[in-house]
């Protein structure tokens, strides 16, 4: 089986079978990562260009390592955030990168739809590494991989996503992915940070942790951005933690074997208590490791589409 498209733009565009293919492939690459020599010659002679128009540490590092493990030649084009890149110059940049001989373009951009725009203009495979508040598909794939690895399945689980859903592309991609697997998705947070329209995607909206977390198998915490505080989304980080912070007491409401996830970077004491972040049910650092395997799988499978 192959992926249908040369690009990975979002989870919306993938079928359940395609997602399963990525996860299975990633499983093989995870074994590679456990070896002493962590590199395979699978994509030797091909070139990947990382186009990051927005600051990123972990996604960029993860992609770069995944590319290097597959023996790709890697070019990092760090675009300063100060230079506001408009549609026209984004395409120009991409065409120049293509002229250099890029086979993969990994793009992170603050505007939703930037990856889609790029994919229409270049022959290289475009991988969306996060566009605005639209999607972050590889994060959702690595989250799914982690869930499957830890709990043995995805189907039939109950997953709570907690926090700033409104500004989160991670939440969106996860919601789309989990819905395809028939997961009961609950989103929990203050009404100011939850677009109620998401209910039409089949999720259940909760404004209190005590009901929302009941019996869930996975608690996915999202980062609360400090700058939201002054914008009227919530009064203070103190009050936020009081009502929506993940504490030991609240985690006890979830299933006794529930795992805790976070895409990072974390705000300890604001959305998650340190004892939970560092506790036995936290799989936060494993998510980081799995990210490399999943991104290797995506690169490998997309190369197969282009032949």
């Amino acid at each position: 089986m192959k992926l249908a498209s040369k690009d990975l733009l979002g989870i919306k565009e993938l079928t359940k079978d395609e997602i399963t293919l990525v996860l299975d492939t990633a499983s093989g690459f995870k074994d590679v990562l456990k070896r002493d020599i962590k590199k395979v010659p699978a994509l030797r002679g091909k070139t990947a260009v990382n186009l990051f128009f927005e600051p990123s540490t972990r996604t960029k590092t993860s992609f770069e390592l995944a590319e290097k493990r597959l023996s790709l030649d890697v070019l990092n084009l760090a675009v300063t955030t100060s230079s506001v890149v408009k549609g026209e110059s984004l395409i120009d940049t991409a065409l120049n990168v293509q002229a250099l001989g890029a086979d993969f373009m990994i793009i992170r951009h603050s505007s939703s739809g930037a990856a889609h725009l790029l994919s229409k203009k270049v022959n290289a495979s475009v991988i969306n590494a996060g566009d605005g508040v639209n999607e972050h598909p590889t994060q959702a794939l690595l989250d799914a991989f982690t869930i499957k690895e830890k709990l043995g399945r995805i189907e039939g689980l109950k997953v709570a996503i907690v926090g700033d859903i409104l500004h989160s592309r991670v939440a969106k991609s996860n919601i789309y992915l989990l819905a395809k697997f028939g997961v009961e998705v609950r989103i929990i947070g203050p009404p100011t940070l939850i677009p109620k329209e998401l209910e039409s995607h089949g999720v259940k909206v909760f404004h209190d942790m005590e009901t929302g977390l009941r019996d869930v198998d996975v608690v996915m915490m999202l980062r609360i951005q400090m700058e939201r505080q002054g914008k009227g989304f919530f009064p203070s980080t103190l009050e936020y933690f009081r009502y929506w912070g993940l504490t030991a007491e609240r985690l006890s409401i979830a299933d006794k074997d529930a795992i805790v996830m976070h895409p990072g970077p974390m705000n300890r004491g604001i959305e998650i208590a340190s004892e939970i972040a560092d506790g036995p049910r936290s799989v936060i650092l494993e998510q980081v490791t799995n990210g490399i395997a999943v991104r290797m799988a995506v690169l490998y499978l997309l190369a197969g589409v282009r032949g």
Binding site: P190, P191, T192, H207, G232, P235
Partner: protein, 434 residues
Amino acid sequence: MKILIKNGHIIDPSQGIDGVGDVLIEEGKIIEVRSQKSEVRSKEQKTRTSNSELRTIDASGLYVFPGLVDMHTHLREPGFEYKETIKTGTLAAVRGGITTVCAMPNTNPVNDNSSVTDLIIRKAIQEGACTVYPIGAITKGQKGEELAEMGIMHGEGCVAFSDDGMPVMNSLIMRRALEYSKTFNVPLISHCEDMNLSEGGVMNEGLLSVTLGLKGIPSEAEEVMVARDIALAGLTGGRLHIAHVSTEGSVRIIRAAKERGINVTAETCPHYFSITEAAVEGYNTNAKVNPPLRTASDVDAIKQGLKDGTIDVIATDHAPHHRDEKLREFDQSPSGISGLETALGLSLKLVEEGILTMKQLIEKMTINPAKIMGINKGTLKNGSDADVVIVNPDKDFKVEPEKFASKGKNTPFEGWVLKGAAVITICKGKIYEQ
């Protein structure tokens, strides 16, 4: 101690009671309300054999209502104790038959954090004659910029939130506040005034303001905000309560919103259905109030709004000020009317005029505000706090501000003779005789 109120005409809209009967109180709680016909012997025997003291009040020819609930009161403490204190304000309430007041947050410091909430609650328990529920500020310092810690304050005892007097002008912040407040299912009470339209105004805008040479506040300053807040309530699904409705246009907008199923309730105050802007003539600062007194057609529309249910609540907007502050140029005098001790008498006129039935009136002064605030008050249901007011409907009383329990003597009703006075007010079983 036990109290038996006998043979009164009991009206308790929360239970649909309207008839002659008895109310039995024990240990500060309502034990039983019974109509005259029902079999009462066993209870009475029990009463007689009991060791505790029994006080019997003969209420023949009098009305017995649940203690009135005022959801819009300025107690001024902390910070403005020279205008009013929790002690004097609650004594004024009790005089007026009011057993529960909700205190607006525009104190100094503003009630925008749980420490101030806690202070008000403690003081009220120590010194208050009746029950006090604090209302927290929507935004920090009532500045309309950042949300106050609604959750924490709600946990401490705030039952609603309002930037009364300093409306949230920024529509985005109001939207967020309405959304955020849903978490705790608390109402936001909106003082509807477009501060740009009303800037510098001291009375209703119209012929009289021009004639007097005073700067006017158009009705539209209220109405555009009523419309805005209703639109935002529709968008967010938050609970919106419109404070002190004063204009015909506002009544129309709220009526239409209710027909569309928007989550909105509304209150007016006795002065908006009792007098018009004409009271300002002679530069009477005791008739300076915000929103300002309007015209006869507004008064008619308010009465109609009360009658058809558009306006759910009669609140006092009790706003006491020091005598010296009102003895100033009209422009410089603060706005506000001391209303706790005249609210019932003025409102009873609505029954006399045939606008409301007694039951409808009492509903708007007891269970309706209690429901909006989510408090277990305004009812004579078994087990609830023994808050009762006994009213003599035929007793005339003259409004004499010097005799007010309130420190605020600022009333435009001085010298009026009102019919219907609270003769006994009972707060959690404590009897205050007038």
